[in-house]
Symmetry: C2
Subunit: 225 residues, 2 copies
DNA sequence: TCAAAAGTGTTAATAGTACACCCATGA
DNA sequence: TCATGGGTGTACTATTAACACTTTTGA
């Protein structure tokens, strides 16, 4: 029987993850040097096919977990890629997601198994298909997003120094920021709380550790950096 | 034979269009009172299924043309909706697109055939499925977009008065704007060119008509309203 | 004792906001 | 002549940007 639906074609739908991390003053992406077919030996984003028992967003979370072991990660759609021949093997429509993770907290065994590694944002190798477009879009996305919403904290440990936070923003925007002006801004955000803990790893003197208080933020969600 | 691809399921993929227009001081959406199944008699966005011979973006342009007769319309993805049961009939993954059109230039016969009509943005009726979420997202999108890029002109005739332009921005932001401050901003944008034509339809005195010069804009693409 | 990162205020420039009256015209 | 929308400038406020030295401490 012909229905409203079945006169139409169906497609494979995949998700691809642009996984951001931050380490030693630079933004990094977790990329796969594919040790599996197709396109074995080439660089790509982590991806996977949407299955029948999951929503597209859930597929993205699952695929991210397959690679990193992490759950409940901050992820957001950055675009859907639907060119007919974007995947030369078969027609696949792919939804790209940005993910922000703390670079110190992921499953290194899984990552090794997939042959994945962290690549500096400023030295991305050639990627398969349209993955480079996805990365470009994700970069534009994170620059906009980080300026207007407090998502940067997803990339840092729960406790962080102001120097780390500033360094993160410098990496995202690709330019240096005045330390005093930056700290003045932060001081006005009462949801960025100073703890009485000191980080001694970054300097001899030690730097105060701060934390982002999400509950306080939600009471008056204003953010601008 | 089992391949990398065919162990995975396939899905219907659709596009849905949030079609913006501007008339008499308010933002409007072109919505369908469906005169076809499924969900006949209910309100929905204009949509359609992606076909094999077109990209997803092309499908959106085609579907928009089916309803309005317009081609090369400014459209942008606002999100992909992939919940399992979002369409109670069958599983359909839908990509939502915002479209900005000049409300004076569309094919009224086609629109009548689909039983579509312009609805004030502030009086959206209940919509099928997750179409209301799509509309919400499109509204958030247009507010952000219009503030940082000169997309508003897509909603106006090629020649427009400053009062019309201001009225458009007031509708988008849902608040009134000071006339002198607004015109001061516009005066600084040299790609908004005053013509020597006068519009006499809006007032007895007549108002100068302006046009947006895209080439000039591209030389120094700065915009903020 | 010195190298290295932490921490701290003031001033100038810029951008944004508030506000009220005259103008030209057709009815 | 008057009602209607078109057009214009200035003063105040808020935000942003520029800028340099002192502190602490482990090596």
């Amino acid at each position: 029987m012909t229905t409203y639906y079945n006169v139409n074609p169906q497609f494979y739908v995949s998700v691809d993850c642009i996984i951001f991390g931050f380490d030693k003053g630079s933004l990094k992406l977790l990329l796969l040097k594919r040790n599996f077919e197709p396109a074995k030996g080439q660089w790509s984003l982590m991806g996977g096919f949407v299955q029948k028992n999951e929503s597209v967003d859930e597929a993205a979370q699952r695929v991210l977990k397959e690679l990193t072991g992490l759950e409940n990660v901050y992820m957001e759609q950055v675009g859907t890629y639907g060119e007919i021949h974007r995947d030369p093997g078969e027609r696949v429509i792919s939804v790209a997601y940005s993910a922000l993770i703390n670079i110190n907290e992921y499953d290194k065994e899984l990552v090794a198994r997939y042959n994945a590694s962290w690549t500096d944002m400023n030295a991305i190798p050639p990627l398969i298909f349209d993955h480079h477009d996805m990365v470009e879009r994700a970069l534009a996305w994170i620059r906009k997003k980080a300026s207007s919403e407090p998502v940067g904290f997803e990339l840092l440990p729960e406790l962080f120094t102001l120097t780390q936070l500033q360094s993160l923003y410098e990496a995202i925007y690709g330019k240096s920021i005045d330390k005093r002006n930056f700290r003045k801004q932060i001081a006005m955000m009462d949801y960025i709380e100073k703890t009485d803990l000191i980080d001694k790893t970054g300097s001899k003197r030690g730097a105060a550790l701060y934390r982002f208080n999400e509950k306080t933020y939600r009471l008056a969600p204003k953010f601008k950096l």
